[in-house]
Symmetry: C2
Amino acid sequence: MRFGVNYTPSVGWFHSWLDFSPSDTARDLEAIASLGADHVRIFPLWPVVQPNRTLIRASALQDVATVVDIAGSFGLDVNVDALQGHLSSFDFVPSWLDSWHRRNMFTDPDVVASTAAYVRALAAAVADKPNLLGITIGNEVNQFAHAPHPTPHDITAEQGHAWAAAMVAAARSGLASGSSGSSASSGLEARVDSSASAPSDSGSRPRPLVTVAQYDAAWYDDAQPFGPEHAADHGDATVTHSWVFNGSAALHGALGPGSVRHGEYLLQLAAAWNRDPARPNWLQEVGAPTNVVAPEDAASFTEQTIRHVLDAQHVLGVTWWCSHDVARSLADFPELEYDLGLFTNDGRVKPAGEAFAAVARSGTTGTAAAPPATALVLDDVLPDGSDRHGMRADCAPGGRFAAAWLAVASAEPDGRGPQVVLRSRLSDTAMLAARGIERCVDVPADLDATAIRVAHPATTP
Amino acid sequence: MRFGVNYTPSVGWFHSWLDFSPSDTARDLEAIASLGADHVRIFPLWPVVQPNRTLIRASALQDVATVVDIAGSFGLDVNVDALQGHLSSFDFVPSWLDSWHRRNMFTDPDVVASTAAYVRALAAAVADKPNLLGITIGNEVNQFAHAPHPTPHDITAEQGHAWAAAMVAAARSGLASGSSGSSASSGLEARVDSSASAPSDSGSRPRPLVTVAQYDAAWYDDAQPFGPEHAADHGDATVTHSWVFNGSAALHGALGPGSVRHGEYLLQLAAAWNRDPARPNWLQEVGAPTNVVAPEDAASFTEQTIRHVLDAQHVLGVTWWCSHDVARSLADFPELEYDLGLFTNDGRVKPAGEAFAAVARSGTTGTAAAPPATALVLDDVLPDGSDRHGMRADCAPGGRFAAAWLAVASAEPDGRGPQVVLRSRLSDTAMLAARGIERCVDVPADLDATAIRVAHPATTP
């Protein structure tokens, strides 16, 4: 079980890539390591690295590699996200993909090939780092794929699969080219250094993970082209981002079970689509947004959220959003972004930071326990076997399935939320056994629940 | 009469601001100076300098100031454009003004105030440079103000005036704050250095110019909110950009009078709106685009274009687009952009460069001659005194007024194209005398002409 933090640079936010400062970075990362975190997630800005479709800036890649090295010096592993893309309400789209040059981000052959070239180059630039946790294709790129994005690049689910497969292949290709020693850095030495110097790495380093990250419309909005299968069928782990401003906190209260268990719920919901029962699940983003969680509740929210996450099976880790409050000197952020940090902008640990540190330092491992024995059945298909439109709305906060999951969770003797099993896979007894599922329960027919409309994350990190 | 070149960096195009190299810059500028040019026009990228609405990067301003210094070391004055904005088919709009943060670029109070802050800071950063020619608010910002821009920020003409006035005031404020000695650099020393080292500067330096640059829809498209008055009523000179892919070359042939006199025509047309007869007119962009001018005609086009410009009155200068061909390694540019340079991308002088140099080195001054004595009357108002919609279409290539101007120009004994006088100002005899206008002629009633639709410059530099 990994504990990490999404790294939001204290000076200049992500615009700091334009004025990269190793010393500012080192100060921030040292603070993050002091909380007991074992990894950070970092976010290059796409237009900064690839300002022209065929220009991938070597110096920008070097800056990313330097951040990974600095993190390693504090014992931190690093996950590198490629396509930003979207961060904290701001979109960063290269000029070659916008305005007069606008083409579909996911399907235009030239765009996809060049986007893959960037992902590959970024992965290759860090492939040999002993403390590389993995590559994520980009932060919630599915936000660009449908309304309510202001100018969506609409696609079909199938086109989303083709794009995700191409990006994952590009990342793996980059990782392989780096490890093969074809890059300037020495892969072999890096691996030797790894076991010697990286405190979080015991012996040989696991293969870096490649992942695809989505915002929760993938699970909650039937119209979103990227869905649960895109999370479960691509890459090496199933990634979830939990933001209770999606209606959970409005419906259940900031510290209600539907809020502090939302991360756990989303992990279970997403895992239902995993084809490999042992596939890891990663709560890659979760935070305490002040528009729905009062600052005085942030520490409790943080502690309860993480405790519940520990109850889920095959959890790779939890990565808190975020390290540092956005500076008030920067304009136009949603108000909540100025108070999402575990640290204030000037580096003081906040109560949520203390709560995070208490769990992270305890060395708790959630993965040792047996999986929850109960599973709630999700009606993913109609009687004729076709996909059931409306299933995702049922899963959204306040929906029938979400309400049923919370009811089962609160009734379980051990307090652990149930797993989720798809109706379409219910006859796969080998899979049920491998998942440790001992009893399956249906959503009660007489359940009284009304899904609320999922708030769209113009404000999602 | 000034001869200059729009500087397109040979390495990395304008993305080179992300990897600013004084030595690359020096090599390019030395080459430009070798042509006999006395100035360059340079183009910071807006999102690079102001990535957040309240973050204006000091290091980016310093890079711009360094380019001005390097230019000065080669005897070149520099005009700095602020809001790019638009360059060679690419739009560069900061993330705080796009997507979820989209607001009207010209009217939103926060946006206008912060845009003005950038213009002011940029002007202040170079205010004390002895070789500063001036500040242009931005390159053809009026492209963003109306269709056919893909996502225009529509405004009224009045809103355009308010915006232009605010930007000009910001530039002047920045220039004043720099000269007052409030900035870090020493204005006094810089001025002393000026007369000692800048070959183009004889004695005390003229006040830097503040200008507003527009693409030619301002004169040719009745629907464009920025019009002739915006060019003539703001700043210190009236700026024109001449691109014969606007229909001129299609109609008249690359070397036909309607093409090689287009720069001259546009200067005369724009000057008609000047309220001060002595106001300078600046052909700030003109080039030989290969989509309509064959490479073998580029030198002749260049020579003839500049010779005709010399026939106009009160011409501040001509600034050729551009210095260096775009590198073929960069993707997605309109084909013509790869061949617009006076130099190849690897620095060899092209025939057009030789033609430019021949005129620039001759020391020709067009401003000494008396103004053309003939003026063609432009019907700018209806009989009731209201603005005449359709006037701008008449002025466009192939339009009645444009055709009449060419006919008069070819009939003049001295071969110089006529001035243009507005019907609404025809009774101002003092103005006519000050402009040196001795006879006014009307567009013949039986003129046979059909305006062609002005091609929109998705491909305009």
